[in-house]
């Protein structure tokens, strides 16, 4: 999961072209809540299931883990290291893959994309690095008999797909509404184990991540000029006619 700047706030870039994390509050990426929800539903139907949350990010990324733990689940892993700042999807997926391999897994559940970078490629990169199936972009899913099956809306078609476990799965915002943490859940989350790891623990060199390991660079980041305020009229019974005149003037009619 990812701790991201609040998507409803006014987000900005710093001078070096990375996301400014100081100016707005951050929270658990809304799209990752759907993955948490699916993990909880799978665990509810499987007594042996154990859920561990994983994030990479600065100190306050722990808040995202606590939020998930308050929804349910067992434990969490936080990878934090100053050298990670400015990592791209390749650096991030490397760190996630090493941390996942370290603790072992049957199923890695992810959101479809983060609400800040919105690339949506980390699940595929994770599967490639871990050498397991990528059963991604699912709108519904069923895990049974060592397989995961689900519906994916792809580029030009809707497909039903299936892969065997272990696998990386990503779910969309249509997979099912995420639950709210209960007060009891929030209290219980404070006592659940949360492990913190750094790059040394994972055997990763600083040069493999951060700006040094990034494979692309931002040249410029400029704010779009705000749209100039248009003409807003209350309908006095001729709103449609006035709108038609506007569209005609703009040559759409």
């Amino acid at each position: 999961m990812k701790h991201v700047p609040d998507a409803t706030a006014d987000r900005t870039f710093t001078e070096d072209g990375t996301t400014d994390r100081e100016s707005v509050d951050s929270l658990l990426s809304e799209l990752d809540e759907y993955a948490v929800e699916q993990a909880l539903r799978i665990a509810e139907s499987d007594d042996d299931a154990e859920i561990s949350y994983l994030t990479v990010g600065p100190d306050d990324a722990k808040d995202a883990l606590r939020k998930a733990l308050a929804m349910g689940g067992d434990s969490a892993v936080h990878v934090s290291d100053d050298d990670l700042e400015g990592s791209d999807a390749f650096g991030t997926s490397l760190v996630l893959a090493k941390a996942i391999e370290r603790n072992g897994f049957d199923l890695v559940l992810c959101g479809m994309a983060s609400t800040d970078g919105t690339m949506g490629v980390v699940p595929a990169l994770l599967a490639e690095r871990l050498g397991v199936p990528a059963v991604t972009h699912l709108e519904d899913l069923a895990v049974e008999n060592g397989t995961v099956t689900g519906r994916r809306e792809g580029d030009g078609a809707t497909v039903r797909i299936q892969g065997t476990l272990p696998a990386v799965v990503s779910v969309t915002d249509r997979s099912g509404d995420a639950r709210y943490p209960s007060f009891k859940g929030i209290m219980a989350a404070k006592k659940k184990p949360l492990e913190t790891l750094d790059l040394d623990d994972l055997g990763i060199e600083a040069a493999q991540v951060g700006p040094a390991g990034a494979r692309s660079a931002v040249d410029t980041a400029t704010r779009r000029p705000p749209r100039s305020k248009g003409e807003i009229l209350a309908d006095d019974g001729s709103g449609g006619t006035v709108l038609a005149a506007f569209l005609t003037a703009k040559k759409f009619i």
Binding site: R174, R223, R227
Partner: protein
């Protein structure tokens, strides 16, 4: 001139418009070569040639249709290793982006997704993207390996540049990962009489205010009069009033048409992220405080069931 690989998006050989846009962009960077996976290459080659593909690499193997994404990764990676391209361009859908990421990882290359423009720079392609719900415009370049770039639909108008492409059949060694995710069934997206959402010059969208599936006829009437695609907000889609494939927004389709008409849509940030790069925005909503009016070039505060039928009648009157 350097070769630029373009992954073709098609249904049984019918090439989709975003691929023609990619070929047009590729010509700025070098000589475009299309990479065609699956059946129907002979049919597709003519269309690809019209838009400047000098070569069409064809991989007609059953794996491509029977398994998800990874056969395309094997094919594109191996063709890239054989041809040494100066860049690889793919369409920005879920399939295109995942293919691009895995190809880039295997080639030791950098990746940029969701470009809205690509130009030739001194050190390779320079891309333009929108960020943070389209409030920022970012330019970027790739610093490592063969640049792999996914491009959003409507980045450029397709420009014909007729060639007589060479068809080059490629054998691919599919690795074990290629058969990891089986496609159990495939339902191609239905193409109705209206233009596709991503490709349309005009989009007419309905939201919560439409208040029922049957009421979308009001939206559709305007769309048909304007030759537009129909869009829907997430609220309307979640309510089951219109199919998800028409959802406009951050997690649906992001559109950038000449005209966007939003009716009964308040304009939550996720919706604005999907449409605020539209050239002209028109909004009809009962609530004068709806955030959509902050973006609108022209807004009517009123009941869409009164405003839209009057608009439709007026369009018909002006045309007759």
């Amino acid at each position: 001139m350097a070769e630029i690989l373009v992954l073709v998006d098609h249904t049984d050989g019918a090439v989709r418009k975003p691929t023609l846009e990619l070929l047009t962009l590729a010509r700025r960077l070098g000589e475009p070569s299309a990479v065609f996976l699956g059946q129907g290459a002979d049919f597709a080659a003519a269309a690809l040639g019209r838009y400047g593909a000098r070569k069409v690499y064809v991989v007609d193997a059953p794996e491509v249709d029977e398994y998800l994404v990874t056969p395309a990764v094997d094919a594109l990676t191996q063709i890239a290793e054989r041809t040494g391209p100066a860049a690889i361009l793919l369409p920005s859908g879920p399939d295109g982006k995942e293919t691009a990421a895995r190809v880039a990882l295997r080639l030791g290359s950098g990746l940029i997704t969701d470009a809205v423009d690509v130009t030739a720079g001194a050190d390779g392609p320079v891309t333009e993207q929108s960020a943070f719900a389209a409030t920022y415009q970012v330019t970027a370049h790739i610093t490592q390996g063969v640049p792999v770039i996914t491009v959003k639909p409507n980045a450029v108008a397709p420009e014909p540049a007729p060639t007589d492409p060479v068809i080059d059949k490629q054998d691919i060694a599919f690795g074990p990962a290629s058969t990891a995710v089986k496609v159990l069934s495939r339902t191609p997206r239905e193409r109705g009489d209206r233009p596709e959402l991503t490709e349309a010059d005009i989009v007419v969208s309905g939201g919560r205010g439409v208040n029922g599936a049957e009421n979308f006829a009001v939206i559709e009437r305007i769309a048909d009069l304007l030759g537009a695609a129909v869009g829907a907000s997430r609220a309307a889609v979640d309510a089951g009033w219109y199919p998800h494939s028409h959802q406009v927004g951050q997690t649906g389709t992001q559109v950038s048409p000449q005209l966007y008409l939003a009716a009964g849509i308040s304009g939550a940030i996720q919706h604005r992220a999907g449409m605020q790069t539209s050239k002209t925005i028109v909004a009809v909503n009962k609530d004068a405080d709806a955030p959509i009016f902050e973006l609108a070039d022209h807004g009517v505060v009123g009941d869409l069931f009164e405003v839209l039928p009057q608009l439709a009648d007026e369009i018909e009157r002006r045309r007759s």
